[in-house]
């Protein structure tokens, strides 16, 4: 599909990426780890799960679905397992009794081959949507959440990762992907590293001709704001529901698209669609309607599946209320943008 023809409804609805794994898949994975199933059976189970969660999203009315990251246990682990130069020594505590397998970089990093290409191709095959989203963990977050035993600096490590991710995005472009999202939850953790971190993200999108968004969540957006203009991505997907829609003023003079987080993913309470519409109304004071996408704050994977699904329905309904108002002003569609500026 050519770029000039891709139209989307005004305020396109999408997800950030992850979606709860069906209970049967969790049990199947457990069985696989116990040696009860073979690898091809696991692959088939993942495919089936993707079909199920894409259906959930589409049925809820989401315009741009993802594959729910059904094949990924954890956002850094998944990429570190598929890039040469990483090893895993064991689990590391993140909080309480929750652990993740924090990777260590022990030799020069190497692109071993496609990381998410097959994920995208399968998603494209099973989704009815015009556009689907592929998510990739960003170089800064992978570097920040890894042990660096090899590179002289974190900056050098992140730059190397940026080159690898850039290669992967170019391959996604080759096979027809239209929309990639770079996830950088760690981006503002070390404000003194922001200058080079932004350079590294820009390295990721160098020579890329498809839409690339950047997702940054649970972060200090005041640290991010001075870099809005410098970032060469076409969209910033930010979390706002969790912070009660405070800090919207940081969006003043935003010159690119906004992925507006309207659903709190760490709270099981189902939002009211009228409140979602109200929040969108507020953000319209800062950002033009054709530059806004509507999404949850972050990945939905920590919620029970039925709640995640209901939350998506509410999000879509809230967006519809605002669309009705906008249609009276003749605004019914927007286009899928690649450029780093909007409008």
């Amino acid at each position: 599909m050519g770029w000039s023809k891709i139209e989307l409804p005004i305020l396109p609805t999408t997800v950030i990426g992850s979606y709860p794994r069906p209970k049967w898949l969790r049990e199947f994975i457990k069985g696989y780890r116990e040696g009860k199933y073979k690898e091809d059976q696991l692959r088939e189970a993942f495919d089936d799960a993707v079909i199920a969660v894409v259906h959930d999203q589409e049925d809820a009315g989401v315009d741009i679905p993802s594959d729910g990251e059904q094949r990924r246990d954890e956002m850094v682990e998944y990429f570190a397992e598929r890039i040469g130069g990483f090893v895993f020594y064991g689990p590391v505590r993140v909080w309480g009794n929750n652990y993740f397998r924090k990777p260590a970089v022990v030799s020069k990093l190497k692109y071993k081959g496609p990381i998410v290409i097959n994920e995208y191709l399968f998603l494209r095959k099973v989704s009815k949507a015009k556009v689907v989203k592929v998510t990739i963990t960003g170089p800064y977050t992978i570097a920040d959440w890894s042990f660096n035993e090899y590179y002289r600096s974190k900056d050098e490590l992140a730059s190397e990762l940026a080159k690898i991710i850039n290669t992967e995005i170019k391959k996604l472009e080759e096979v027809g992907a239209l929309y990639v999202q770079i996830d950088e939850p760690a981006l503002t953790t070390h404000p003194d590293e922001m200058d080079w971190a932004i350079d590294v993200i820009n390295e990721v999108v160098k020579g890329v001709n498809i839409k690339v968004g950047l997702h940054v969540c649970y972060s200090n957006y005041k640290v991010l704001k001075p870099y809005f203009d410098e970032l060469k991505v076409s969209q910033l997907a930010l979390e706002f529901a969790n912070r009660g829609f405070r800090d919207l003023n940081i969006l003043k003079n935003l010159n690119k698209e906004l992925g507006f987080g309207v659903i709190d993913v760490h709270n099981r309470r189902i939002e009211d669609p009228r409140d979602v519409a109200k929040a969108i109304g507020k953000v319209l004071r800062y950002v033009e309607p054709e530059c806004i996408y509507i999404n949850p704050d972050c990945g939905l994977k920590l919620l029970p599946r039925n709640i995640a699904r209901r939350k998506l329905e509410v999000m879509v309904q809230g967006a519809k209320y605002v669309r009705e108002r906008l249609s009276r002003r003749g605004l019914t569609n927007t286009i899928l943008r690649r450029s780093a500026e909007c409008p």
Binding site: Y89, G90, P91, V92, R93, V94, W95, G96, N97, Y99, K102, A104, D144, W145, F147, N148, E149, A186, T189, H190, H266
Partner: protein, 332 residues
């Protein structure tokens, strides 16, 4: 050369302990089975420490989620909030929300836990000399990581964490054999802390050190995630405690200049990096020790610079074993 190796703060929960917790929290095993498992894990840690020649240690803090929890659960006036990042780490803790005046609950389990760990340690070490330390967060670190909905000013909050919670707790623990407490004060050297607050923090620590000393408890003041040089001459007010320095918080070795500049005599050199899996180079450890001696330190300990939760257990054990080997070689 009188240099001793120590285990500070937490030791990573092994996969066995983590699973034990999961099963306990989801109600799959009863409390007594959980207790038995924790006891076993603690014994295994003590056996390992004995094997590698470390006799100054903590109990690994297997019952703790972070340096604040479960302590804050047993403090009246505190509610516990969602997750907050622990300084610049990919590690989170549940923060205390201060709703009314602080007071240590009479029902806390820390006395019982310390007594149990001390008995287990004595048993494993079979009468040989040991020092079991109890790690606790310092008043400034507690205050700056609290969400304050009650106190008019931070000064009073810092002061109350010390006088209403930490001192009564140290007193309670001293009745069951505590002779050394580890006070964790990353906020004291953290880049985001103002000089004014550092001053208040040091004053409160000075009171705490005096109080602990009056009941026979020695204080190990552990600073990490920042350079102790930030304290400048304020360090003199707390230098009767054993001062822990994070060797990786400053340009190589420069944090140690504080020993020379302010005449520190009792130091714990945090030469084992708890935030990276890379093994420490023996020459760097040797250099750190010789520098501390050159600068006039008389009582030198070497150990981990920060809690070991940030690295996998397999790496933590390897690092401690290696540190012990390097120091033993040096002693010869």
């Amino acid at each position: 050369m009188n240099v001793r190796i120590v285990l500070n703060a937490s030791y990573p929960r092994t996969e066995y302990v983590a699973k034990l917790y999961s099963r306990f929290l989801s109600g799959k095993i009863p409390g007594d089975e959980f207790e038995k498992g924790i006891e076993e894990a603690t014994i295994n840690l003590f056996k390992f420490l004995k094997e590698i020649g470390i006799n100054i240690f903590t109990d690994g803090m297997f019952r703790w989620d972070d340096i604040f929890n479960p302590l804050i659960k047993y403090v009246e006036g505190v509610k516990i909030n969602g997750l907050i990042r622990f300084y610049d780490n990919n590690f989170f803790f549940r923060a205390p929300i201060i709703e009314s005046k602080l007071k240590l609950s009479n029902e806390h389990p820390f006395k019982e836990w310390f007594k149990k760990s001390l008995d287990l340690a004595k048993n494993v070490f079979d009468g040989s000399e040991i020092l079991l330390k109890q790690p606790l967060p310092g008043p400034l670190t507690l205050a700056l990581n609290s969400i304050n909905n009650h106190y008019g000013g931070l000064d009073t909050l810092i002061s109350d964490w010390r006088s209403e919670v930490l001192e009564p707790l140290i007193k309670d623990l001293s009745t069951v054999g505590l002779s050394a407490v580890e006070i964790h004060e990353p906020s004291l050297v953290w880049k985001g802390t103002s000089d004014e607050l550092r001053k208040v923090g040091v004053k409160e620590l000075s009171y705490l050190i005096d109080y602990a000393s009056s009941i026979g408890v020695d204080v190990w003041l552990l600073t990490y995630f920042g350079s102790l040089r930030k304290l400048r001459e304020l360090v003199n007010e707390v230098s009767r405690a054993i001062i822990g320095l994070d060797y990786y918080s400053d340009e190589r070795g420069r944090v140690q200049l504080v020993i020379r500049d302010y005449g520190l005599k009792r130091v714990m050199l945090g030469v084992l990096n708890a935030r990276n899996t890379l093994m420490e180079r023996p020459e760097n450890i040797r250099r750190a020790i010789f520098k501390a001696l050159d600068y006039g330190a008389k009582e030198i300990y070497v150990g981990n610079n920060a809690p070991l939760d940030f690295i996998p257990e397999v790496i933590a054990s390897k690092k401690l074993r290696r540190l012990s080997r390097i120091v033993r070689k040096l002693r010869r």
